[in-house]
Symmetry: C2
Subunit: 226 residues, 2 copies
DNA sequence: CATAATTTTTAGGCTTGCCTAAAAATATTT
DNA sequence: AAATATTTTTAGGCAAGCCTAAAAATTATG
């Protein structure tokens, strides 16, 4: 417990957390391999090491799962990642599509005093620039309870954009272009059954069509019927 | 040129710079070994690699020296180190004795946009919390021309503290205790030949004795005769 | 200047975190 | 339930960055 972990080990814990978040399934070797851009054999190697350190439970051929200790560490890394992203956007004038790669580096900086100081300096933000919740010092994550995917909304409703999937650079850039940001309000006008694309009106902005794929990667909160 | 360097390689370049700063001597393997807390044989290994990459010039048994390219990189790492230290003290409420270890990690973060943004955010500071000059974007270092060691001052002069050696934690803590900071003015009252300690009066504060060793690690600027 | 002391390099080895290729286990089809 | 396909593990290897012990070069000393 409380041993220093390598960047690699931290990244494994974080990705295991992300892959199992929401589900209660174990994480497969191949899924990890894809997310970490490594070969399955490398994953197996590392899982053995992390199991040895009691940070994951791992049964050959059956996938892995974080232990309580492993999850605690993973959440703190995610806390750091999201606080640094918030810092970059709020203080250093980064765009939301520019922050992730730098935060991938910053999340490994080892200093509790720094991260708690940063949290205070930023005013204890609850969400990062992509709308993802920032875990608190104790590791508590306040998920937005009423969040649904834009692709799941019913027509004739008014919704507010509360999160976007940060994984795709090109999505973030596209949303910048069409001026769809966190806080933006959308009227859901139509859904086309052929490709499940939807027509929306940005309140105070243009009307436009969004593909199913785009809509699936935007999180919204229902406001009202139109 | 412009290849990505490992943390280790960056640390070697930085220490070679520090060890040769001021002097025009080559840096010896043993000197590096001591500063980097590694064995001489490890240093030899790395010098071969850095020479291969044209970042140092290295002749067996004759020590090493940074190339122009190597020096450019070293200076940028020092720029990052000192900007981060300034950030920690000015924005995150760190004490000057707490910043170095964290800055050792932060100096390896790879993002020109971040470091230039940080520089702007901090208001383009010229000196770090220990009074060391912060290289600018182009690598120019504005050394304080009139700086001398407190140990070299003449009695009956009034001086201002402009820098302290950051290498010793215990020195920094001691200076905190006696309330000797950057900007503090000192009257040089006496010098005892036996141990070369000096008696000083902190303007607006107490009178006290400083050992030669302490005085050598404090940089001051002459203001006037008393 | 020859011998001793010091510094530096070489030789060989270890761990971490990857890799490829082949073998073994598991899942899917027919 | 075989046969086939997919997933996962094992075996063996490689580069980075460190180590110890021994050899070689340099420097200091009588
Ligand atoms: Mn991110
Ligand atoms: Mn994010
Ligand atoms: Mn420092
Ligand atoms: Mn400093």
């Amino acid at each position: 417990m409380n041993e220093i972990l390598s960047h690699s080990e931290e990244n494994y814990l974080k990705e295991i957390f992300h892959l199992s978040e929401g589900t209660n399934q174990k994480v497969s070797t191949n899924a990890l391999a894809e997310r970490l851009n490594a070969k399955a054999s490398s994953i197996t190697d590392m899982l053995k090491k992390l199991a040895e350190k009691k940070l994951v439970s791992y049964i050959k051929y059956k996938g892995c799962e974080l232990t309580d200790e492993g999850e605690k560490i993973a959440v703190q890394i995610i806390r750091k990642h999201r606080l640094w992203e918030t810092f970059l956007v709020n203080k250093i004038e980064f765009g939301w599509e520019e922050v992730h790669d730098v935060a991938e580096q910053l999340e490994h900086i080892q200093s509790i005093k720094l991260i708690d100081g940063l949290d205070k300096f930023l005013g204890y933000p609850k969400f990062d620039p992509h709308g993802d919740p920032i875990p608190d010092k104790e590791g508590k994550i306040s998920y937005r309870k009423s969040k649904i995917q834009l692709s799941e909304t019913v027509i004739n409703s008014l919704v507010e954009v509360v999160s976007v999937n940060e994984d795709s650079l090109s999505l973030l850039k596209y949303l910048d272009e069409i001026e769809l940001n966190l806080g933006t309000e959308l009227k859901i006008l139509e859904r086309y059954t052929f490709d499940e694309s939807i027509k929306v009106k940005i309140v105070g902005g243009q009307e436009l069509n969004l593909s199913k794929k785009v809509a699936e990667n935007i999180g919204v909160r229902f406001i009202s019927e139109i």
